[in-house]
């Protein structure tokens, strides 16, 4: 791998902010984004004029969304860019901000994500002119229903054991005021309303609107601006990979995650089993199981029983998706990856209240996106 600049210049998350994830409403994306950005600045205790650059993760808004929004904090003339990387857009915004600070080009950078649904995802791969056999029959929830079928068959796991992921994440989301879904659910409710294969409505993430923001800063900026060092969370590594070719029937999504996470944990000098708190891309319940194994927290086939027995609950050996994850917090696309890093920061500060993982020291955030990409960040209190 290329140089890990984050090991050479200490880089921190010093501020976080959200606009609640919610169903599509009349609220403009400008209001959503400004709410999150202002909250992040206030949380860091800095001024907008201290910010030297901004990256805005968005996949659905169309071109040119950032300046009309962020200029309402003051038209300071700083560089801004929209960042699109499918579901990982907000993760890539954070990655760009980290690289810019770690490289020494800037000391204080805003990374954020904002999106509103516009009916369909408009994904480019469908326009590549490559025809396959399935036509329009395989939409994302069916892709993951097929992976659930494979997983249950290979490991002798039941549909209820897969659904236990959703039970846990809805429970976590009930303690998160920024979550789109804030209700504790029963297994009966989780198993109702089949969508595809064993995937039910409550095992599929809601795609609504919202915004998330983080302020990324150098150690020098913390000193110079008088930022509270005890609430700064260090970013140890930031790794992005794209899909390679795998054998017939081999799980692309899990293989890509394993490769990306392996590089990220190596760069951070962290053993995945040391991770206290992990936000994982659980757009569909089965994904949390596949990725938890691919991330190296346990062996293939073990995640289902570990989730069911509470090992990945808040207070367990590692809290998985403490925010409620994509399943309960929601997946508004652009904000999601930034929101994960904000949640991990909150957890590593010990400020997560009722959903606090006790004594959390090391955290990680993992997103995948169609196309297919994977982004992993490793953070330390």
């Amino acid at each position: 791998m290329s140089r890990n600049l984050l090991a050479e210049r200490e880089t921190f998350v010093v501020g976080i902010g959200f606009h609640q994830y919610q169903r599509k409403s009349k609220t403009t994306y400008v209001t959503l984004g400004l709410t999150a950005a202002r909250a992040a600045l206030a949380d860091a205790g800095i001024e907008w004029t201290d910010v030297e650059s901004a990256y805005n993760g968005t996949a659905l808004l169309g071109m040119g969304s950032s300046r009309i929004m962020l200029s309402r904090l003051g038209s300071t003339g700083i560089p801004m860019a929209q960042v699109e990387n499918a579901s990982a857009s907000g993760s890539t915004a954070v990655a760009q901000a980290c690289m810019e600070v770690a490289s020494g080009q800037s000391d204080v950078v805003l990374a954020m994500g904002v999106d509103k649904p516009r009916g369909g995802l408009g994904a480019a791969p469908g326009q590549a002119g490559i025809e396959n056999l399935e036509g329009g029959t395989i939409v994302p929830f069916t892709h993951f229903a097929l992976l659930a079928s494979e997983y249950m068959s290979a490991h002798g796991v039941s549909a209820e054991e897969v659904a236990a992921v959703a039970l846990k994440n809805h429970r976590n989301g009930a303690h998160n005021p920024y979550a789109q879904r804030q209700k504790v659910r029963t297994m009966e409710e989780i198993m109702a309303e089949p969508i595809s294969g064993s995937m039910t409505r409550l095992q599929c993430c809601p795609v609504g609107e919202g915004a998330a923001a983080v302020i990324v800063a150098s150690g020098e900026a913390i000193e110079r601006l008088g930022i509270d060092r005890t609430r700064a969370v260090r970013v140890l590594s930031s790794v992005t990979r794209t899909e390679r070719l795998y054998g017939p029937g081999e799980g692309i999504d899990a293989a890509l995650t394993a490769e990306t996470a392996g590089l990220a944990f190596d760069a951070a000098s962290v053993d995945p089993k040391e991770v206290d708190v992990l936000e994982v891309h659980d757009a569909f319940s089965i994904e949390e199981l596949l990725y938890t194994e691919a991330l190296g927290l346990c062996a293939p086939g073990e995640a289902a029983s570990l989730v069911a027995s509470g090992q990945f609950d808040l207070g367990g050996r590692c809290a998985l998706s403490p925010s409620g994850g994509l399943l309960a917090m929601g997946h508004p696309i652009g904000p999601t990856g930034t929101g994960q890093v904000a949640e991990i920061t909150r957890q590593l500060r010990g400020e997560a209240g009722e959903r606090q993982q006790p004594n959390a020291k090391i955290g990680a955030a993992h997103m995948v996106g169609i196309g297919a990409v994977c982004v992993v960040h490793v953070l330390q209190a």
Binding site: N132, T137, L245
Partner: protein
Amino acid sequence: MQIGPPIVIVGHRCTRCERVAFPPDPYGCEQCGAEADQLEPVELSARGRIHSLATVHRHHDDAMETPFTVATIVLDDGPSVKAVLIGDLAEAAVGTDVVGVTEATGHDDDGIELLDLRFTPAGALSEAVTS
């Protein structure tokens, strides 16, 4: 379901790295980067084994009648495909052998019948042919 001569699926083989893939690709080889003129059509047998399957209960396209069942199928000739399963699926499971069949899906503007490729359990098909 229409049963005729064995169906072949046309994929491509890269003449530079020998990778066999489906679907055919107009751009280049994903393994070695050879350009499209170095990819040649290759016939793949429409026979394989179910790797995973799911019955779809809801679909955003109202024109698609639910429920229907889809599967990931690893073809005997290598590549894996995803396709709709039809026929008697009572015994269909991961590991079941399947073969390609055609199904009429409507007519084009000139009134010509359109056929689409589906898969069906091989055991059920051989019973259908012999009975």
